[in-house]
Amino acid sequence: MTIVRALGALPVGLMFASAVGAMPSSLGAQTDYFNTDRNRPVRIEDAHATERYALEVKLAPVRLERGDGGVYSWSIDPELAYGILPRTNLEVGLPLRFAEGDGAASGLEGAEISLFHNLNTETRTLPALAVRGDLSLPVGALGPDRVIPAVAGIVTRSFGFGRVHVNARYAFADRPESEPGDEPSAGHEDSRWLAGLAVDRPFPLNSVLLIAEVYADQPLPDGADLAWNAGGGFRYQVNPYLAVDAGLGRRLTGHPSWFITVGSALHLGVRRLIPGVR
């Protein structure tokens, strides 16, 4: 059943695929595995923006979650990110969700638009700092009732062993009453606030990054308990323009659940998006 519902995501997936196909085949050189993104494979991200003029296509980041009683839910979160300004990228995402069990539902979980700005490059005296503004738009069957804005701060610091990332996020949203049986989904943007830390370790000769995280988030519904989450995963650079990632994690409190994620990102260069280039 879940698989059947998941097939419903095909139109959106194909839309993204055709968007990619319509672009020039030219590909930009990147070391994308080292620049982590939200939910690829963990929730905590680094403070680095997509390169200027680069277009990153996160074609099918898939997440499978197993909640209480063996209830499964799937989500697919295709996203486009474009380096619109120095150290700044614009992101557009269309998250889809398919849930089984009593609360079975499927559909678009809103549309997300984000602007990510890296304030500075990391130096000896200052970590890399970034801010992000998110808008979750009321689109789709599972989307929010109205626009939900959110802000986030990101810090990245490099050490000899690897890097440490700290994220904090706050959403300005109404608080629906919690219904019995409601299961907040780890990793989704349905939290009042979120704060956490991740540690990564690169293996540059193999273009592999291992990363682990722990974070706390307060689900939006009133009365919901604070949730602690832990996860880990890896990112791997397949070739200069394709990176893949996979991870697994667990919601430790509230409604404990397991989740696994698999994703990939294509790094593209599009001449038409570069001013002055014919």
Binding site: P24, S26, L27, G28, A29, T31, Y33, F34, A49, E51, R52, Y53, A54, G83, P86, R87, N118, N120, T121, E122, T123, R124, T125, L126, P127, V155, R157, S158, F159, G160, R163, V164, V166, A168, Y170, R192, W193, L194, A195, G196, L197, P202, P204, L205, S207, L209, A216, Q218, D222, G223, L226, Q237, N239, P240, G269, V270, R271, I274, G276, V277
Partner: protein, 469 residues
Amino acid sequence: MMGDEKDLTGNWQPKRGDPVIKFVSGATIAACTALPVLLATPVPAHAQWSTVYEQTYLPASHNWEFRQRFAFADRLFNAFDYGHAILYETLLTRPQADADLLERRIFDHLTREVLINPPHVPLAEAAVMPQYAKLVPEAERMFDWAHVLHRQTYDVWADVRIPLEEKDARIAEILEYYKSRPDIAFSSRPKSMELMDGQYYSLAFRHEFPRFNGLIWGYHWLQVGLYEPLIAGQNPDERQSLAQATVARFWQLLQSPPESTPYLMPMTAAVAPLFTARYPEIAIIFDNLHMMHDVVSDILASPQVPRDRKRAEIMRAVDLFRDDSSYVTSVEEWRSMAVGMGIQNQGGAAVGFLAALPTPTVERGASMATMEHGPAASHADHQAPADASPTAGIPGAGGMEHEMRGAMETILQILEDPAVLEAIRSDPALLERWTDGEVQAHFESMREMLDGSAEPAPDVEPTAPAHQH
């Protein structure tokens, strides 16, 4: 937002589960997670704020053609990036380490493991050299941007779909894109050797770490030398075989370091004369890039540069290599210098070479600034000490006999005749000799001398370097 529970005095009383309490709890958790990271960051009075940023490749149909068709060389360049990065990180973070660390352990790791099994994709250099990247992110970006120029230039020449007559236009576009970032682009005006070898910290690296320095110069030799087989080859098969020969020659340079490695910094005009003749501006940029690599190594290795001055000195070099006025020399001087240093001292020709490595004629790691500004400053005297120099035996331009000058002009005129060039191209043996870097260097030297005694070309830069000390 706030809960409506108040005490008898009218003050708000928080209770568990209140949104404000949750927010405060969240803020506390955020602070607790962020604090260790922030506290691990020493913040001196002058915090180092940098906003240098990354920019993607110029998208084009030739992207990654070199990687597809010349993987054996492309992967080596990934390894070279690692070699540079691990060098800087080690010099910066292990200043007290015995020279053996770089000269044996890391050198062996690079030559016996990394170069044998090089990375399959370009490296995230910040992952290899996190401390160096934090010290001078501006310099890191500058190197990276120039490496992008390198790779895209290879791509154009590796792409068999681009006709020869279109390649120059593609390269011009790449160069324009490169120069669109003046904050991280090297100047395309040639810099005097004084900038590299005439500073108070100069030569520190090559004297302390001769094997590693030879390895770096071997890297640079291949990075510019590999353009020659791509340009000299008349068809894809020939380009492949010539490129393989050039890579084989690179391995030969590493056979018995430091004796077998270049004795002087390989200059593009000497190692890649065909490329330089076609794209002088890019050749100059690559020489500036390689000079700055050496300058950074010297600054990091020199005990005369205190640790708290390392960044300042590297940033000074960043500025000097970006601007178009400091330490500038003329294009003629630059070409003359490259040839005069002796191709045999710079690793030898990249195509059409003999089986044995050329015999160097200078002391290994000698100061090139001395060669440039010593008694051998004139064009005619820009030669290595021994008689194996490309210009050996040829009188100076000032005292050149009339007959000798006439003979040289005649030879050059004959060689510029299209029919003669066609005949050379149709004869493999002749072509091999014609594309020999040393032969080309001799011709270049002859042109230099003739030009030196004639009126300067209109586009020639002023010969007096405008130094900024």
